[in-house]
Symmetry: C2
Subunit: 253 residues, 2 copies
């Protein structure tokens, strides 16, 4: 995503990996449409996009309303809107949200990379990469930071929308990180053969007790990882991590 | 599959569910091509098809060779060829193989149906139905026999070839059995929400110790079922069941 002062440009994720096309949005309604139509996706990316949308919409009530309705399930969206509501300099605040997201991802990537062994075969699910965030990525941020360890990636295709096949595999190719694309149902088989060392996934949200919310299928991968004794950390940056009560409302650990 | 004396006709499984087209094969080579090109698939169906192929090929060495090369991983194929080799009346033997398969599936279906509770929500994977066998089906044979118990089916789409989406869902619709199609990665989520009562899958082969061989992803479904305390029997009819040593060569239980 690129902020140009009078517009924000999104790499159209619906057309990847076949085409690299940027969509320019000049109004809050256009940003909301880009979110709704999946031009831009991924919780952190949606938060950044919405912040720029507020700037383009000059902080009007209409701008907040149209953006809030674009993806009602995205917690980052509402967090970003709330932060923009209190900002004195909207453009500076939006840029701050965007840059803080990238900085946080880099810090999380460096932190997570310490957990990644040399030559690890890292399985990931969906796309928690640069495309899903302001930049760098959460789960793929860990992979990026661990790149010098000669790792390789196993990307689950992630049905039905194929974010793993279309986006994660594409990001790895851009980075020069070896990547193998598999159908989701192959994950358990590879684990059972000892061909996976580590699983890293993103999270839409992480509750105070460690419960996570993420794309359907993440539970499957996590359950299989546990069955095979594999570490499978979820990556999710503040502000939405560790703020929510868990579904089962267990006390925080 | 329909035996017409001078030809065998296969419902082209590559075109389902959009088109219902029968492909007529008049030579062993045509039957071998139908197996190789996935016009007909499923271990028991391939065995029946190969038997008819031997009849059409007049039991020549060329007929056996071309059929044996059509799907080297199908145990039923080689079992059927071996049985045809020893037959005095080839046509009668092929029809017997075909009819025995349907009768065995019906018996197995009736047997398995006793394990299915009233109103059970039965998850299945891939296609182990009439299309994969001489008729009636193995896993879907259990479903067919349990139809009067007001059951419903959850069909995993089964990537990459979508046998669940294209074939199992189609068979259920033909039978008037309520069916819900899901992506494979949704299986664990539904189990965790208590929306699955039973899992029934097919098997290419079952070893003496109970180990099974089947389409990739079956292991994932079985592992998730175990995690959630769900019964998940494999269905596979003789002759290839319980004849093979297991991969791990453990003693028979």
């Amino acid at each position: 995503m690129r902020w140009k002062g009078d517009r924000v440009e999104f790499l159209d994720q619906r057309l990847l990996p076949d085409q690299t096309v940027y969509v320019a949005c000049r109004t809050a309604a256009e940003v909301a449409a880009a979110i709704r139509d999946m031009v831009v996706r991924g919780a952190p990316a949606i938060g950044c996009a919405a912040a720029f949308g507020v700037v383009l919409g000059k902080k009007t009530k209409e701008a907040f309303d149209v953006l809030a309705a674009s993806r009602p399930t995205a917690v980052n969206l509402f967090w970003a809107l709330e932060r923009m509501r209190g900002a004195e300099d909207a453009a500076a605040e939006a840029v701050a949200i965007y840059e803080e997201d990238i900085a946080a991802n880099k810090a999380m990537g460096d932190h997570g990379a310490k957990l990644v062994p040399e030559k690890a075969r890292v399985m990931t699910y969906c796309n928690a990469g640069a495309l899903a965030t302001g930049g760098y990525g959460t789960a793929l941020g860990v992979v990026r930071s661990a790149k010098r360890k000669s790792i390789s990636v196993i990307a689950c295709e992630t049905r039905p929308y194929l974010q793993g096949a279309r986006l994660t595999a594409w990001e790895c190719v851009q980075e020069g990180i070896p990547v193998t694309l598999i159908t989701d149902n192959m994950a358990g088989h590879l684990m059972s053969r000892g061909e996976v060392d580590l699983v890293v996934v993103g999270a839409d949200r992480i509750a105070a007790n460690g419960d996570t919310a993420n794309k359907i299928g993440t539970y499957m991968v996590a359950t299989l990882a546990r069955r095979h004794g594999l570490p499978a950390p979820s990556t999710c940056r503040s502000p939405t991590a560790r703020r929510s009560p868990s579904r089962s409302a267990r006390p925080a650990k």
